[in-house]
């Protein structure tokens, strides 16, 4: 049975929600929906051992990396695609995708320093259109720009290297810093962790490698922008962020993809390691193409993101604003191993039209006096389904653990769904775990109330949504916060007026 048959048609009961439904169903202007035409090299579709070897060869990888991929690939073959999330999707045909695509340019073989290469002008144009600064002139942010399967530019690398900070593409790190990569890759998300982690480990394309040395506070925000371009390809980014003792880094991730007719696959793995007294702030604004009104052609976003607070007093904060994708499956998590370590998760997940999101976090308390904070805001509109799934697990060793969780849902209109699956597993009696949840609704009544006070429709929705998301948006770095607010308004409005 197809997913569209299973998703039942809901009757729009009464006239109460008509106005809001029509407002929200107007064609959204996904301004990132353009695609770039340039010479690319794309592997033939299909996935077998030869494909994995070809990817490794293309990137000129050392033996150990190929081994890692092959082990993962063979394990992946034994696994079944998971469907336990509260989402409906037709099982993917993995043979229908191409697992490598990159713009052709002089030394784009992954081994050369991409910063020295000439960036394909069409690709440069694309990033310019997206507002991603490739030349390093924008002062506050260092950028690693990833186009389909490769990183095309990493800015400010030399400046950062002077401080001992490594900020380069994952492919480059494999060549230039093999000991570091081998030391950390797969330690937080092993290849056998789950179906998509195994797939990613086998066909990982590119991503970012960040290493902050001891006691260094990274002076710039580091960011990666992921751009999927070629149709019918999968993007499998692999990112590793390591903060050595006493260090600090704020890392931002952005993404987008062209509007296409067929589903596009994105299965990422992000591993973060935070050592003693160090802190990592990881922020994501996810705006993958969500598809058309029925979410056809949207990105299928399956992500495994996990952080290990290895050392004492370490801290990891995940902040995300998720507005895109047809399907979102991601649970940025913190393993609180070090004593006194802190994990935080701040999330705004918005679904509209027929998007489906099953997202949340896992906080695993292992060390003593660890604490975690979860603030998750879900906004559902249209006929979407928005699910929060969270796990707070306190192991017997976690003396004095504390958790505070707040998950709030806002329903916009009357055909959307909001669901919550909080799992709380406590195996130590000294733990303090708090959980709060609220559900509220924006209906035509609220909108009319605002209008009758002189506030326009657009401003009313924006005001209500931003009020709802305030606690989370305030955790995003300034530039991101503004972008996220705009994205929220845009994702809900379409072309009003």
């Amino acid at each position: 049975m197809t997913d569209s048959a299973q998703i039942t048609e809901l009757n729009s009961a009464g006239t109460q929600y008509q106005e809001i439904d029509s407002l929200l169903s107007k064609n959204k202007n996904y301004k990132e929906g353009f695609f770039t035409t340039t010479t690319v090299e794309t592997f033939a579709k299909g996935l077998d051992e030869a494909t994995v070897r070809a990817i490794s060869a293309k990137k000129n990888e050392p033996e150990w990396m190929l081994d890692f991929r092959l082990k993962a690939f063979n394990h992946w073959l034994t696994l079944e695609e998971p469907h336990w999330a509260k989402m409906l999707y037709v099982p993917l045909d993995y043979q229908e995708y191409s697992y490598y695509s990159a713009p052709e340019c002089s030394a784009c073989d992954g081994s050369a320093d991409s910063a020295e290469n000439e960036i394909d002008p069409e690709v440069a144009k694309a990033f310019a259109e997206l507002g991603v600064p490739l030349t390093g002139e924008d002062s506050n942010v260092a950028v690693d720009a990833i186009f389909d399967s490769i990183s095309v530019s990493t800015t400010k690398r030399e400046d950062l290297l002077e401080l001992g900070i490594i900020f380069c593409s994952f492919s480059e790190a494999v060549h230039d810093y093999p000991e570091l990569v081998q030391k950390y890759m797969g330690t937080v998300v092993p290849y056998h962790d789950n179906f998509f982690a195994a797939l990613n480990s086998a066909v990982a394309s590119d991503g970012t490698f960040v290493y902050i040395p001891e006691n260094v506070r990274c002076p710039l925000d580091l960011s990666t922008y992921f751009r999927i371009n070629e149709a019918k390809t999968g993007q499998f980014e692999r990112t590793i962020v390591v903060a050595d003792k006493g260090s600090y880094v704020s890392y931002l991730e952005g993404c987008s993809a062209p509007a296409r007719d067929t589903y596009q696959l994105h299965a990422a793995v992000v591993e973060v390691v935070v050592l003693e007294d160090a802190e990592v702030k990881y922020s994501t604004v996810q705006n993958w193409y969500p598809g058309d009104d029925d979410c056809q052609g949207g990105i299928l976003n399956f992500v495994t993101k996990r952080g290990l607070c290895e050392g004492k007093n370490s801290k990891l904060s995940w902040t995300q604003a998720e507005t895109g994708s047809a399907i979102t499956w991601k649970y940025p998590s913190c393993i609180l191993k070090g004593d006194n370590s802190i994990g935080e998760f701040y999330s705004v997940a918005l679904t509209n039209r027929r998007q489906q999101a099953d997202t949340g976090t896992k906080m695993i308390h292992i060390g003593k006096n660890t604490s975690s904070t979860i603030i998750a805001k879900g906004l559902s509109a249209g006929r979407s389904e928005n699910t929060y799934r969270g796990l707070v697990r306190i192991l017997p060793s976690a003396e004095g653990a504390r958790n505070f969780t707040q998950c709030d849902s806002m329903l916009i209109g009357n055909q959307c769904g909001a669901h919550t699956f909080p799992y709380i597993e406590v195996e130590n009696a000294t733990a303090q775990v708090e959980h709060e949840a609220t559900t509220s609704r924006i209906g035509d009544d609220q909108l009319f109330y605002c209008k009758q006070r002189g506030i326009s429709e657009q401003n009313a929705i924006s005001m209500i949504v931003n009020g709802f998301c305030k606690d989370v948006l305030s955790e995003l770095p300034l530039e991101f916060a503004q972008e996220a607010e705009e994205l929220l308004s845009l994702s809900l409005e379409g072309s009003v007026g």
Partner: protein, 253 residues
């Protein structure tokens, strides 16, 4: 002439509610509209405010020289039309302050006035908060969230005091209010009476009208105003009930 309603006819879901309503309100006047359930009182308020569940099938409404029916609800509000709701809704996550500041600055923009910043706004709101005896923390609280029925109505009148509209339509503001709340609300409304402002007070009961003495009273029945008069009409209703007035009207037809 602040508001001129001529032959207004409106329906909802194929049911004709207003069947030719006529009303004239001048600035400075307080008009009471009374009538039994189903007469069309709330429909009138909703149609004037611009709720689009209702379809206007005939008639015109002139508001301060403009064709009201051509304007969107938020435009009507910015031109000075205010509706105090029968059932004010909650807006979680949006503070009363943000809500009112946004609304007020929208209206000020329409009048070519500069917007108020948050400090000016606090100053401006202070005495209105006291007037309606609202809690000190009113501005930080989310709009109507956790408010009692009476508090919600007082909040609407508070908003009315802040926005200083030209025409205030009170839709059964007195329903669900205890004596003290009624007194506060009535006092708030009376304080806002001015030669520049008109009021349409829609109500079932005469109770509120003892506090807010209207200049004109109209009886609305079956979608039309069947009788108009001064305050003495309220006493007549007391004596004969709506039935009595309706019978009078039918006999005269």
């Amino acid at each position: 002439m602040l508001l001129k309603v001529e032959n207004l006819q409106a329906k909802i879901d194929e049911k004709q509610i207003l069947k030719g309503l006529n009303l004239e309100v001048r600035a400075g006047e307080v008009h009471a509209i009374m009538g039994p359930n189903g007469a069309g009182k709330s429909t009138l308020a909703s149609v004037l405010a611009g709720r689009d569940d209702y379809e206007v099938t005939a008639g015109t409404v002139d508001f301060d020289g403009e064709d009201l029916l051509e304007l969107a609800p938020d435009e009507r509000a910015r031109k000075g039309l205010f509706l105090a709701f029968q059932y004010p809704v909650e807006i979680p996550g949006v503070s009363n302050k943000l809500f009112m500041q946004t609304a007020l600055n929208g209206i000020r923009a329409e009048q070519d006035l500069p917007p108020l910043d948050m400090f000016d706004f606090d100053e401006y709101a202070k005495d209105k908060i006291e007037l309606l005896n609202m809690r000190d923390d009113l501005l930080e609280r989310s709009v109507n969230v956790g408010f009692s029925g009476g508090e919600k109505k007082r909040n609407d009148i508070f908003q009315m005091a802040l926005l200083a509209p030209k025409l205030c339509i009170l839709d059964e503001t007195d329903s669900g209010l205890d004596i003290d709340a009624l007194g506060l609300v009535a006092n708030g409304i009376n304080t806002l009476r001015s030669p520049d402002r008109g009021f349409i007070v829609v109500t079932h009961y005469q109770r509120l009208l003892n506090y807010i003495k209207p200049d004109y009273v109209h009886v609305l029945y079956n979608g039309q105003i069947i009788k108009s008069g001064g305050f003495e009409l309220v006493h007549e209703l007391e004596e004969f009930g709506y039935d009595g007035i309706v019978q009078q009207h039918e006999q005269a037809q």
